[in-house]
């Protein structure tokens, strides 16, 4: 590599042996849906909590022909998304996109795109805390035992506490799910609004936790059930108004504070979905009139 003017990286930053190690963990994770596979996570050139797990999984599954989309809280233009997209443009030279339908790999933080995913796509989640039982049972040896024996009564204690304190299940994100009728899994901090999208999804879903050194997966077309009580069934959030920019209903909305006088708007958290709809001529109540849109 001498003589090259710039630092060059192996394709997608990680060396081939590391990628092989991660791929083995991914294969095992796919073979045992919802099971947390330990892997030797590497130091990445970004701080923990910024998606080091997701980046390593993406690097391991990325090929030169892939088209990568990175979203952070649904948006393609937020810091984390821009940084990771730039990282793979620089280290792998792959094509990137913001259009959900054109991407073959989507790395995400905190959301699943509104557009339904397809069989040829992989969704990679960035996971801060992979263990759903962590805040109830601090001992790792014990949580492993609980998973091994499928003793998940404790998870319902958490939901019980929610109802006892708030009158309903107040967990709104990282809502625990049961995968393929066996392992209880933390779906990463996505809103529970997105939980139903994981069920029977045609795309492969991979979860990477860098600091905790765990990889887990949901293979395509796997049953994913959100835990609940018979008399308090699982429900997703509902929004009173449609998106203020594209008038979409049945999507997850972000609240944007406009001023200090109580002004606010609710807009799609999925920017690609919102832009696509606006381009198709849908106009919400606060959108610029057609023709003036930037």
């Amino acid at each position: 590599m001498s003589g090259m003017p710039e630092i060059s990286y192996n394709f997608a930053y990680l060396d081939e042996q590391t990628k092989r190690m991660i791929r083995r963990a991914i294969l095992k994770a796919i073979a045992i849906p919802g099971y947390q596979v330990p892997f030797a996570a590497r130091e990445m050139p970004m701080p923990y909590g910024w998606g080091t797990g997701g980046v390593q999984v993406t690097a391991a599954v990325l090929g030169p022909d892939d088209v990568l989309k990175v979203i952070d809280q649904g948006a393609d233009d937020t810091t984390n998304a821009v940084a990771i997209r730039g990282f793979f443009e620089k280290t792998a030279g792959v094509a990137t996109t913001t259009a959900t339908t054109q991407a073959s790999i989507i790395q995400t933080r905190h959301r699943i795109p509104e557009t339904a995913l397809a069989e040829n796509q992989i969704l990679v989640y960035q996971v801060p805390i992979p263990e759903p039982l962590r805040f109830l049972e601090p001992r790792e040896t014990e949580t492993r035992q609980l998973h091994a024996l499928a003793e998940y009564g404790l998870m319902h204690v958490k939901l019980y506490e929610d109802i006892a304190r708030h009158g309903h299940i107040a967990t709104t994100y990282a809502y625990p799910v049961e995968v393929a009728g066996r392992y209880v899994m933390d779906p990463s901090p996505i809103p529970k609004f997105d939980n139903p999208k994981m069920d029977d999804c045609p795309a492969l879903q991979l979860f990477g936790a860098g600091r905790e050194k765990r990889i887990y997966a949901i293979p395509p077309y796997t049953t994913v059930r959100s835990l609940d009580f018979e008399d308090h069934p699982f429900k997703v959030q509902r929004f009173a108004k449609p998106c203020a920019l594209c008038a979409a209903t049945g999507v997850y909305l972000d609240e944007v504070i406009l001023d200090d006088k109580g002004g606010r708007m609710f807009v799609c958290s999925d920017t690609d979905h919102c832009n696509t709809r606006q381009a198709q001529g849908h106009r919400g109540e606060m959108a610029a009139p057609a023709g003036e849109a930037a």
């Binding site: 109830l136 003793e151 009564g153 404790l154 204690v157 019980y160 006892a164 018979e230 008399d231």
Partner: protein
């Protein structure tokens, strides 16, 4: 109290030649005993005599260095507990057994409400109806004399006596057949202790529980137990009916133990 013993005379729990070594030191050795259904067995002795080690061995929390413990399952078969798989053993511990610890913080989830604490075992055995779990928890809080409006308070807001009663409710909610108690009244003041003993005694007779209770307090043993074993230096030195051992101790050490109590 023998009149309350059920007619079933097959033992529920059998220990044969139990021993436990901590390195070269001896926790307990060569302990053999039987616990019958509906019977309260007290294990007494001074600090360091191996009482808690014995309780740990009987409840399979500790692995024995020698000997074995067998338990009569609900189907009537006597099974060696060391031969149970971890899944079976854990199921046994959260359905058929209870363990009331001296320090309630060890036996309770301190950050979970009283109702959640009582409901945990129910959820662990598959209850998935919030209303039913809550109803059962409320009922049990009533039985251990905790006001129903405290159901959503967590145990940190409870007094020592209440915590201990909550721990008992949490253990009895799945209607176990055998309960281990490690100094359940230790650290409580005398009047609270008396009420707790009264409560334990009525629950035990009402539910026909078998109990192995470890205590250094001979008054507790006299009040609760049918039979007792006296331990010293890791060995059982005397066994017998509670009245017999306390009123007519045979071994010099037991005589010393009994005579050193102020009005047992």
């Amino acid at each position: 109290m023998n009149a309350t013993l059920p007619s079933d005379d097959a033992p529920l729990l059998v220990a044969e030649g139990l021993g436990k070594n901590y390195g070269t030191r001896i926790g307990c050795r060569d302990v053999s005993l039987e616990v019958f259904p509906g019977e309260v067995l007290a294990v007494v002795g001074e600090s360091g005599s191996g009482k808690s080690t014995l309780l740990g061995l009987l409840s399979t929390e500790l692995a024995a260095s020698a000997g074995r413990v067998s338990y009569r399952m609900r189907d009537g078969a006597l099974r060696d507990l060391a031969g149970l798989g971890p899944a079976e053993r854990r199921l046994l511990m959260r359905t058929d057994w209870g363990f009331v610890r001296q320090n309630p913080a060890d036996g309770l989830r301190m950050a979970v409400s009283a109702g959640g604490n009582v409901g945990e075992r129910l959820m662990a055995v598959g209850w998935r109806h919030y209303g039913n779990i809550r109803e059962e928890a409320t009922d049990w809080l009533g039985r251990v004399e905790i006001a129903a409006d405290r159901i959503d308070d967590d145990p940190r807001a409870f007094s020592g006596g209440m915590r201990q009663r909550l721990q008992i409710a949490r253990n009895l909610v799945t209607k176990p057949r055998l309960v281990f108690m490690d100094e359940p009244t230790g650290g409580l003041d005398v009047s609270v202790q008396a009420r707790l003993l009264d409560l334990i005694r009525s629950l035990v007779s009402e539910m026909g529980l078998a109990v192995v209770i470890v205590t250094h307090d001979l008054a507790v043993a006299r009040l609760l137990s049918h039979r007792m074993v006296v331990m010293r230096h890791g060995r059982v030195i005397e066994t017998g009916l509670t009245d017999q051992v306390l009123d007519d101790p045979r071994e010099p050490y037991t005589q010393l133990l009994v005579s050193s109590v102020l009005a047992a």
